[in-house]
Symmetry: C2
């Protein structure tokens, strides 16, 4: 069991690449590809093969040197590592535009995160059906989390309510919060929080846009 | 001008931290803090001071050794680097739930990305007002991009339409695409693309959830 504990001590950058590897491998699997080299897989993701091998090394490497990866086995191994070998019951808290957009996103279930409840405090939204599921009143939150063994909550409530709702989720036994509210949540170390920040995404894009525009100016100057 | 070109050759991980530094610094600025040490700023973001100094080193370092950073100057410098010292005209393509959620997110304008147009192909959505702006027909796309000097497009159309719309945006002169469609876009190297993948976020969270649950099991075993 010590090995399991060790495979959790992995850099964030590596963790963020695992889903990208899995996605590409599933595409290969879907078209019947049985083996793939680290170079082929890395190139399809626009990264270096050494980077990919370094990432996989945290989990034992998955292959003997000089041999390609077995696609199906690697898919299974990555699903185990990511924790989606079994479906992870998930709930959406906040059924505004963003919550509804996410609830309508059917890939979520395919990727291992079936939605077991959608909640909102707004009586006008309670009862509205999204892909066959009614939006539930926030009063039902703890009961549904317990009954459906919900592990991950997707938090799409306004910033002003986010911490209060997060506290309720933590008490109810949620282990992961995917936070779309534009503020940092406080949670105990036994709960994983991922803050999804629109600002981070668009500003990192802006940095590249600025660089492209600067280079265009430079070329005009030459 | 050579220096500008060099400041663009920066690792992605560093680029992704720039908005987080800026956000914290603006909070400090708002409460009247004038100086901050690398250690204080790094700790508030849960990273190492050496990491922060390494990131800043790509842009000249911003400070003399042993001296704190001047908050206001650093905010200005980061805004220049990120490319938001001047507002970046932005458009939203796709006014479904996700597009509407983003259009309603007023921080976007505050952070330097005023929305200069919202577009959809669905006649039922065209004319609907979102924060004072009508959803426009896709036919107006090129005209508005040109007139409003739109640099960044936020793409919230279904995957099946995403590449076609991206091609139109590239032709119209867009320099950055923030892609929320769950597929990889092809674009020329003169256009920056950032793919925002729900799957990456929730799977990296799932990895941490799995690790927490495993550790709990281990502790029970002991």
């Amino acid at each position: 069991m010590r090995k399991n504990r060790r495979t959790c001590d992995v850099p964030d950058a590596t963790v963020l690449r695992l889903p990208l590897y899995l996605e590409k491998l599933k595409l290969l699997q879907a078209i019947g590809v049985e083996d793939v080299s680290s170079r082929q897989l890395a190139e399809s993701l626009d990264i270096k093969a050494s980077q990919l091998r370094h990432d996989f090394h945290y989990f034992g490497g998955f292959s003997r040197p000089g041999r390609p990866y077995h696609v199906q086995k690697l898919v299974g191994a990555l699903e185990q590592i990511i924790g989606i070998a079994e479906p992870v019951p998930t709930a959406i808290i906040g059924a505004g535009h963003l919550g509804q957009a996410i609830a309508n996103y059917q890939n979520l279930e395919i990727q291992g995160f079936p939605i077991k409840g959608i909640f909102d405090a707004n009586p006008k939204l309670v009862g509205v059906e999204i892909r066959g599921q009614p939006v539930r009143d926030m009063d039902e939150l703890e009961e549904v989390v317990l009954k459906e063994k919900v592990k991950i909550a997707i938090l799409t409530v306004p910033a002003a309510q986010a911490q209060l709702v997060a506290d309720r989720l933590v008490k109810a036994g949620i282990v992961g919060i995917f936070n779309f509210a534009p503020m940092d949540l406080k949670a105990p170390p036994t709960v994983a929080v991922r803050n999804e920040r629109m600002a981070v995404g668009i500003m990192s894009l802006s940095f590249k846009v600025k660089c492209i525009l600067q280079n265009m100016d430079l070329e005009e100057d030459i």
